[in-house]
Symmetry: C2
Subunit: 356 residues, 2 copies
């Protein structure tokens, strides 16, 4: 790796044990062995077990390995939605899930507010079979609170709830018992190269998919019944991104060793000093007005001249994230993932003082 530090919200700085695990993977020929070998089946099993422990996943939830969060949106709609889903959108990614449903010609609906604004209307059309909500909107640094998610479940006991936990897992606590399906990609908080998306589903999702399969096509190799058929044997339907599955398991285990409590306390500490640095800075302001909805893993600030800040840091070998999409000219984004050490974040906060 170069000497730069990437605080970009994914792809990001590689997890600090990445290279060591990669070398070990090469030495063990993980890349050359058969994906149907007992060695690889054991790797899938170990990765799944590590993730279940790290994410504190309750019993009755399965984990499947896809290729991106984009693909999970695609497969959720294909597998779990007959006619209509409903989406809560206040940023580019939550909006995109809704767009995917429309691309599949579903008569889906959306509750859309301004980017970063809180939702006041939580009503959901009766016809919606699935609700799409985002734990951590990476594009603008907005977090849905655990209380909001608990209310969701209570008010919609029969609908499927799909939670986007990209850039949230494993840094933010999530009560999986309040949702039916969730997903993340590994190039965010896990500090891995992109190319793997993790899809978590519960029994209710399997039931919906099985019922739908009797009357319609759920696609082919990535239909939920087919994922389950292979997943139950710790296998994947296709030759998967084997290296990524191996590395994800190793890094999940490293995080378990660090301790989930410490990892989350560190996340809070780093978010706190980053927030203070923004508040005490003359030309920076929090983008998300509501304090409790500010993301702890993706710190987003309004800036007078983002490019000036970005290039100031770049000269020092520190890469911050630019604003996403329409916010490119107004925002800076700073990722706060487990691979970002407290020391590096403290340094970043100190440096922020030196630029107007």
């Amino acid at each position: 790796m170069s000497n730069k530090i990437y605080f970009t919200p994914g792809p990001t700085q590689l997890f600090y044990t990445f290279e060591e695990h990669f070398k070990r993977a090469l030495a063990l020929d993980i890349i050359s062995i058969s994906h149907r070998s007992s060695t690889f089946i054991k790797i899938v099993e170990e990765t799944t077990e590590a993730l279940k422990e790290l994410l504190e996943l309750p019993a009755g939830y399965d984990i499947y390995y896809l290729n991106s969060a984009n693909e999970v949106w695609d497969r959720i709609i294909q597998n779990l939605v007959d006619e209509s889903s409903h989406h809560f959108a206040n940023g580019a990614f939550s909006k995109k899930f809704y767009d995917f449903a429309l691309a599949h010609h579903k008569s889906s609906s959306v509750t859309e507010v301004e980017d970063g604004a809180i939702f006041s209307d939580w009503n959901i059309p009766e016809k919606a079979e699935l609700i799409g909500i985002t734990k951590n909107e990476t594009s603008i640094g907005f977090t849905t609170t655990e209380k909001e998610l608990a209310n969701f479940r209570e008010e919609n006991p029969d609908k499927l709830i799909a939670l986007d936990i990209v850039s949230a897992a494993p840094s933010l606590p999530i009560d999986f018992s309040k949702i039916d399906t969730a997903y993340f990609s590994v190039q965010k908080a896990f500090g891995l190269p992109p190319g793997l998306g993790v899809w978590i589903v519960n029994e209710k999702c399997h039931e919906v998919a099985q019922k739908r399969a009797t009357k319609t096509s759920l696609g082919s190799y990535r239909s939920l019944p087919n994922l389950k058929k292979f997943g139950d044997k710790h296998q994947t339907p296709e030759t998967p991104n084997m290296l990524a599955i191996y590395l994800l398991g190793k890094i999940a285990n490293d995080m378990i060793q660090v301790g989930l409590k410490k990892l989350r306390n560190d996340t809070i500490y780093k978010a706190t000093i980053l927030n203070q640095a923004i508040e005490s800075h003359e030309s920076l302001n929090h983008f998300v007005a509501s304090k409790e909805h500010r993301s702890k893993t993706t710190i987003v600030a309004d800036a007078k001249d983002p490019s000036k800040i970005l290039s100031f840091f770049e000269k020092k070998g520190i890469i911050l994230g630019s604003g996403y999409g329409i916010h490119k000219k107004n925002h800076i984004r700073i990722a706060n993932f487990p691979t970002h050490s407290k020391e590096s974040v403290e340094m970043l906060c100190d440096l922020l003082k030196d630029i107007e």
Copy 2:
């Protein structure tokens, strides 16, 4: 890497320059930079250009980066087939493409012969919009000849022809002007880790997809119009397996440096001595009876006791492929990819003489 040599037909021995390129990718932070950065856009462009040169792709063909050959089957059916496709199946993988069409509830048809047998009936139902054929059936080592492919085009000028070039590209010459779409995964002849599938389509495929898009859904992020929208800018709709795209480009360029003629001559030389070794062996026989249909990249032999041969070689650090699926107890498979040196294949042939 360990000291073992993998002659398995994918995942297989890594291409001999893999580690060097991987280290360079780390040093350049290829894994941490944004997939929308100009640096990565240039990488996609360079990989595509290298592939076009290496595969001798005519003008008018586009290349898109998916995640596996399985996914390409899925997306071909989703994007290009309204009601029906027709498939030629004489092995597990050609059969599987047909199964994918059925899973999508298409009224597809199949010309199926015994594994490894040649096709005598080339008739195709009028209703078929797309024909699925396999250049190199990796499961049993069968090759469709260039003459057969040329006849196909001649007799079916209006149908889309989809050619599976998994384990064929770039070792076997392919006349792309005779087909409309083709695909391969990188863990075969390119000697890369699995997790990337390459989809090649021509203008006719784009026309079919655009026409279908006016009346039906082609899926979401991986619809052909969306792939084209991003691909025209050397981008992908989602955050892709960036490392794999980078490495594929580097290895394609290495192969260009070696020279396509030499690479293919070496393939023929190695296939010839492997075939001779099988013919002069008492307990081995070619599985594919027709000489001209025997694969040069996946050598498959009937064996009295495959496990004895496999374990004999394994003790010497040489991993051969077992038979695929129903042939596990009767076949051995030996991959002959560009990463397998002439010397290593000569050694393998010599060792074969030492075992009954």
